[in-house]
Amino acid sequence: MILANYIVSFILIALGLLVLCTQKNLIKVVLGLGIMDYGVNLLIVSAGFNEGGTAPIYTLSELLSGVPSTFFVAPVPQALTLTSIVIGACVDAMALAIVIMIKKRYGTIDADEVRRLRG
C-alpha cells in the first residue's frame, strides 16, 4: 500500500529529528541524521511507484518496436534515490570521522561537554 510508505517516511524523518534533539551521544546524533536520510529516500522512491509496474528496463523487442509492452515504474526517482543514498552515506562517514577527531581532541563525545564555542 503506497499510502503507508508516505506515512512511514514522514515518521522516519520526525524520528530522526527527535534523535537529533534529544540524544547527547554524538554517535547517536549521527545515527539520527541517517534515519532522517532513510525517511527521505523512502519518500523519493515511493514518489516513482506505479501500481503494478515493473522495473523500467526495455527488452530488445520492446526497444526495436519502440513501444513498451509492460507498464513501468518511473525510473527517475530511482536514480535520485541512488544519488541520495550515496550522499547520505558520505554524510554519515564524514560525521563519524569528525566524531573520532572530537574524541581525540576533547576526550569525550557527550554533546553537553563538546561546546567550547558558545555565547
Partner: protein, 660 residues
C-alpha cells in the same frame, strides 16, 4: 549551436578537473599553486565571456547535458541555464574564489596537507558556481551537498584551533537538516509535477497550489533559510566561521551564505512565483528583520575578532532577505546590491582579520591593540571595509542600505501597513549599531596601546595584501559608480527575476511560456534620485568626526583605575582586570555573578570585558537581554537542532494557515 553555449558547463568542469589534478599531482608546491590558480582563472575568464551575451544583450544560455533535449514538452535530462540572475551571482562567486585563492598562497604557506586544502577549495568553488548556473532542482541539491562537504572539511582542516573540529561537526549537522528538508521538498515536487527542470516547474507550479506543492514550497524554503543562516539556524554557521582558516572564513561567510539567498530568490520569484502573496512577503521580511537585529546585538557582545565578524554576516544577511521579501524592484535591487557588497566588504574584513592573526597569532580583541603603527596597510583596508559595512558614504554599503530603507518605506506607504515602517526603522537602528560595533573593533585592534608582545609584528606579505587592495578598490568603486554598476549587473538580474518568459522559452523551446500562460510580475522603473553619495558624504564626515571626538575623549577618563601591583599602565584591553562602570575593580577568576553575562566567545579563551569595551554601559543596561540570548547560544548541537525543528514546524504551520 555556437561556442558560447559550452562556457557555463566548462566553467564548472574546469574547477572540478583542477581539484582532481591537484590531488594527483599536487605534491610540489609550485605545481599545486599553479594548478589551483589556473583552474580558478580559466573559470573566471569563461564566465566573464558570458557577460556580453547574457547581461548586455539579454540572452539566456541553455545547455543540455549529453544532448538530452525535452521530448514532448517534458524535460528529462539535466540542463544548465544561465540567466542574468544566476550569472551575476556566479561572477560574484568566482571573483571571491579567485581572491581567496591568491590570499591562500600567502596565508596557508607552510601548513600541512595543502594538496587536500586546494582540492577541497576547488570543489567548493566548482559546486558554488554550478549551483548558480544549473537549471535542475535536484542538481541544485547535489551542489549544495558538495558545498557542505567541502566547507566542513575545510573548516576542520584548521589545525591551529582545537575547536575547529567542533565547529565543523555542528555545521555538518545543521546543513544536513536543511538539505534533507530540501530533498523531501524536491520529492514532493516530483510527485506532483513529474519533472525537476526549473524552467518547466516555473510553468506548472505558479497558480497551481495544492497541499502537496505548498508543503514542498515550505520545505524547500526552510532548506534555503538554513543555507542563508536565518536566525534560529545561524548559531552553527557562526561557530564554523569563527574557527575556519581566514581564507575559508571569507568564502563561507561572504559566498556560501549567498547560496541560500540565490535559492530563495530563484524559488520564490521564478519557480513558485509565490512572492506576490502578502503573507510570504511578511514571513520573509519578519525573518530578515529579526535576523538583522539579533545578529548585530550579539556581535556587540563578542570578544573574538572573527566571531564578531561572523555575527555581522548574519545581521547583513537579514538585510538581504528582508529586502528580497519586499517584492518591489527597488527592494530586490537593494537586496542583490547588498548581497554583492556583503561579499566584498565581509571578505575584506575577514582577510584583514586573517592578516592580524597571521601577524600576531591571536584573534582575541582584548589581547590586541595599537596595530595601526605596525600594520598601516591592513589598517587602511580594514577602515574601508568597516565604513562600507556600516553604510557610510561614499562606500558601497551606503548605496545598497539606502535602497533598502527606501524600498521598505515605500512599501509601508503603498500598502499602508505599519509593519513595514517598523522594518525600516529597525534597519536604520541596526546600521547605527553596526557602526558602533566596528568603532569598538577599530579601537581595540588598530588604535590604543600596542601590546609588548606585539612590538615586533610585521605587515602581511604582499601576496596577502594584493587581494585586500582589490577588494578595497571594489568597495569604493561600487559605491561611487553605483549607477553604472546597477545598470550592468543588477538591473538585468532584477528583470530576470520578475520576468521569466525568456528563461522558460530558452530552455523548453520558443512559445512554451505563452502556451502555459505564465504570468509576469509587475516591474516598475528604478529612480536614481535620492542616494547621491557625495551629498551625504559631507554630512557624514561632520557627524563622524564629532562622534570620534566624543568617543575618544570620553574613554580617556573612563575606568582608569589601576590595581596595586598591576604591571600595566592602563587597564584598557588588558583582560586581567574587570572594571565596572563605577571604576571598581575585581580580581580575575572571582567575578561577581552579575558580570558573568559579559563572558563570550570561546570558553577556552574567554576574558572579561575590559576597559577597552566602549559599550559597557549599553551592555549593562541590556544585560537581561544578553543573558537570555547567550543562554540560547549554548553551543550544544542538540539545542541548535531543537531550534531548527521548532522553526521548521512554525514555517510549515504558517504556510498552511496563510498561504492556501
Amino acid at each position: 549551436m555556437n561556442m558560447i553555449q559550452h562556457f557555463p558547463v566548462l566553467a564548472v568542469m574546469t574547477l572540478f578537473l583542477g581539484a582532481f589534478l591537484i590531488e594527483i599531482l599536487g605534491r610540489n608546491q609550485i605545481v599545486r599553486n599553479a594548478l589551483a590558480f589556473a583552474a580558478v582563472s580559466i573559470s573566471m575568464v569563461l564566465l566573464i565571456c558570458l557577460i556580453r551575451p547574457v547581461l548586455l544583450e539579454g540572452q539566456v544560455i541553455s545547455y543540455w547535458m549529453g544532448g538530452w533535449k525535452p521530448v514532448a514538452n517534458y524535460a528529462i535530462g539535466i540542463g544548465y541555464e544561465v540567466d542574468a540572475l544566476g550569472l551575476t551571482f556566479a561572477l560574484l562567486g568566482i571573483t571571491a574564489y579567485w581572491l581567496s585563492c591568491v590570499y591562500s598562497f600567502g596565508y596557508m604557506k607552510g601548513k600541512q596537507h595543502l594538496g587536500h586544502y586546494y582540492t577541497l577549495f576547488l570543489m567548493l568553488a566548482g559546486a558554488s558556481v554550478g549551483f548558480f548556473l544549473t537549471g535542475d532542482i535536484f542538481n541544485m541539491f547535489i551542489m549544495m551537498e558538495i558545498v557542505t562537504f567541502s566547507a566542513v572539511a575545510l573548516t576542520a582542516s584548521n589545525t591551529e584551533k582545537t575547536t575547529a573540529i567542533e565547529g565543523a561537526f555542528k555545521y555538518l549537522i545543521n546543513c544536513s537538516i536543511g538539505s534533507s528538508m530540501t530533498l523531501a521538498g524536491i520529492a514532493l515536487i516530483y510527485l506532483n509535477c513529474h519533472t525537476l527542470n526549473l524552467a518547466q516547474l516555473a510553468t506548472i507550479l505558479p497558480g497551481n497550489v495544492n497541499l502537496t506543492t505548498l508543503m514542498a514550497f515550505a520545505l524547500i524554503l526552510i532548506g534555503f533559510c538554513v543555507e542563508s543562516a536565518m536566525i534560529p539556524f545561524h548559531a552553527s554557521f557562526v561557530d564554523a566561521h569563527t574557527v575556519a582558516p581566514s581564507s575559508v572564513s571569507m568564502i563561507l561567510s561572504g559566498m556560501v551564505l549567498k547560496l541560500g539567498v540565490y535559492g530563495l530568490i530563484r524559488i520564490s520569484y521564478i519557480v513558485f512565483r509565490a512572492i506576490d502573496t502578502s503573507s510570504l512577503q511578511i514571513l520573509l521580511t519578519a525573518f530578515g528583520t529579526v535576523t538583522m537585529f539579533i545578529g548585530v546585538t550579539m556581535a556587540l557582545a563578542q570578544h573574538d575578532f572573527k566571531r564578531l565578524l561572523a555575527f555581522h554576516s548574519v545581521s547583513q544577511l537579514g538585510y538581504i532577505i528582508a529586502a528580497a521579501g519586499l517584492c518591489t524592484s527597488l527592494g530586490l535591487t537593494g537586496s542583490l546590491y547588498h548581497a554583492i557588497n556583503h561579499t566584498l566588504f565581509k571578505g575584506l574584513l575577514f582577510l584583514c582579520a586573517g592578516a592580524v592573526i597571521h601577524a600576531t597569532g591571536t584573534s582575541d580583541l582584548d589581547a590586541l591593540g595599537g596595530l595601526s603603527k605596525r600594520m598601516p596597510k591592513t589598517c587602511i583596508c580594514f577602515l574601508i571595509g568597516a565604513f562600507s559595512i556600516s553604510g557610510l558614504p561614499p562606500f558601497n554599503g551606503f548605496v545598497s542600505k539606502w535602497m533598502i530603507y527606501q524600498a521598505a518605506y515605500a512599501k509601508a506607504v503603498t500598502t499602508g501597513n505599519f509593519y513595514y515602517a517598523v522594518v525600516t526603522v529597525t534597519a536604520l537602528v541596526v546600521s547605527v549599531m553596526t557602526l558602533a560595533s566596528f568603532v569598538k573593533v577599530l579601537h581595540s585592534v588598530f588604535f590604543g596601546q600596542l601590546k609588548k608582545e606585539h612590538e615586533s609584528v610585521h605587515e602581511a606579505p604582499g601576496i596577502m595584501l594584493f587581494p585586500m587592495y582589490i577588494m578595497s578598490a571594489l568597495c569604493v568603486l561600487t559605491g561611487i559608480f553605483y549607477k553604472a554598476f546597477s545598470t550592468v549587473f543588477i538591473g538585468p538580474a532584477v528583470f530576470a527575476a520578475f520576468n521569466n518568459t525568456t528563461y522558460i522559452d530558452s530552455m523548453m523551446g520558443e512559445g512554451y511560456a505563452e502556451l502555459f500562460g505564465v504570468p509576469a510580475l509587475a516591474i516598475d522603473k528604478l529612480e536614481f534620485s535620492y542616494w547621491n553619495p557625495f551629498v551625504w558624504f559631507v554630512l557624514f564626515v561632520i557627524v563622524f568626526a564629532a562622534a570620534c571626538v566624543v568617543i575618544f575623549s570620553s574613554t580617556g577618563t573612563r575606568g582608569r583605575t589601576l590595581k596595586s601591583g598591576g604591571s600595566y599602565d592602563s587597564v584598557y584591553g588588558t583582560g586581567d582586570l574587570s572594571v565596572d562602570f563605577m571604576g571598581r575593580t575585581y580580581e580575575t577568576g572571582d567575578p561577581e555573578e552579575k558580570y558573568a553575562v559579559f563572558f563570550s566567545g570561546e570558553k577556552a579563551e574567554y576574558s572579561h570585558a575590559g576597559g577597552s569595551d566602549l559599550f559597557w554601559g549599553f551592555k549593562y543596561n541590556w544585560h537581561k537581554y544578553y543573558q537570555f540570548l547567550q543562554g540560547l547560544h549554548s553551543g550544544s548541537v542538540n539545542d541548535y537542532s531543537a531550534y531548527a525543528v521548532i522553526c521548521i514546524a512554525v514555517i510549515c504551520m504558517f504556510m498552511f494557515l496563510f498561504m492556501r
